[in-house]
Symmetry: C2
Subunit: 164 residues, 2 copies
C-alpha cells in the first residue's frame, strides 16, 4: 500500500488548495453580485438607467475622441450584438452619437454628446458616493491589498496591455 495519509501529502494538499481557491472565487462572485444589484437598482431608480449603460458611458467619457463598437465591447466585456443594441438605445435618447470612422469604412465611431456628458457626470457623482459608501467598511490596508490582489488576478486574463 501507499503511505498513510498525513495532513500534508501532495494529494491532500492539492485538494485543499483547490477548495481554497474555490471558496475564494465563490466569495468574489458573491460580493460582486451583491454590489452589482445595489448599484443597478440605484441607477434604475434614480436615473432610469442600468449598470451596462453606465459602464458604456463611462468608457466613452474616458475617451473623448470616441471609441469603435468593437473597442467598446472589449472594454465592457460584452458581446458585439449587445453593444449594438445598447448604443442604439443611447443614441435614441440623444446621449451618444454614431458616425462612420474616417479611416475605415466598416467601423463606427461612438462618442458622447454634450447631453450625454452632462448626464453621465450627474450619474457618476451619485454613483461614486454610493460605491464609496459600500466600501467604507474597509481599512486603507484592506483596500490596498484588495486592489493589488485583483491587479495580479487580472494579469492572468490580459496577457499584456493597459490597466483599468
Amino acid at each position: 500500500m501507499t503511505a498513510p495519509a498525513t495532513t500534508t501529502d501532495p494529494e491532500t494538499r492539492l485538494d485543499r488548495d483547490d477548495h481554497e481557491a474555490l471558496r475564494l472565487w465563490l466569495r468574489l462572485f458573491t460580493c460582486t453580485t451583491m454590489i452589482e444589484r445595489v448599484v443597478d437598482s440605484t441607477l434604475r431608480r434614480d436615473f432610469a438607467s442600468t449598470l451596462p449603460r453606465f459602464d458604456l458611458l463611462a468608457q466613452l467619457f474616458r475617451s473623448p475622441d470616441g471609441l469603435r463598437m468593437g473597442e467598446l465591447s472589449a472594454r465592457i466585456l460584452t458581446t458585439g450584438g449587445n453593444v449594438t443594441s445598447l448604443v442604439a438605445a443611447l443614441e435614441r435618447e440623444g446621449l451618444v452619437k454614431r458616425r462612420p470612422a474616417p479611416d475605415d469604412g466598416r467601423a463606427t465611431l461612438v462618442r458622447l454628446t454634450a447631453a450625454g456628458r452632462r448626464h453621465f457626470t450627474t450619474m457618476a457623482r451619485a454613483h461614486e458616493r454610493l460605491i464609496a459608501g459600500l466600501f467604507d467598511g474597509l481599512s486603507a490596508t484592506e483596500r490596498r491589498a484588495l486592489h493589488a490582489a485583483l491587479g495580479t488576478l487580472k494579469q492572468r486574463f490580459r496577457p499584456s496591455r493597459d490597466t483599468r
Copy 2:
C-alpha cells in the same frame, strides 16, 4: 476666501477616496466578469451546463436535507421566478427532485437526486481545477488578504448570519 487647496483638504480628500473606491469596484467587477465568462463557457462546453445551474447544484450539495425555493434564491442571489425555472429544468433532467415541505404546505423542498450528486461531483472536480488554475498567480499572502477583505465587504450586505 477659504484656505488654499492643499493636497489634503477635506473636499479633495473625499473626492480622492471616492475615486479610489470607484477604481476598486471597477477592478472587482472586471475581474469577476472575466472569470465568470471563462467558467461559464467551460461549463457549457464540457457539461452542457451554466454557472447559475452549477451554483444552484452547489448549494444543494452542501445541504443534504434539501432547501426551500426561497432559501435557494436568497443564496444564489437571483429572483424567485428564475429559481423556479432553473429547478424545473434540472428536475426534467433528473438531477433534482421537488417535494412539498412536510411542515409548511406552501413551501417546496428541493434536493439533489443520486444522479444529481454524481453529476455535480464530476463537474465540481473539473471546476475546482479550473478555478485553482486561474488563481494560481496569487501568492498565499495575496489570497489571504483577498479572502479577508472580501469577507469584510460582505458584512456590509449580510448584516448578520452565516458565512459562505
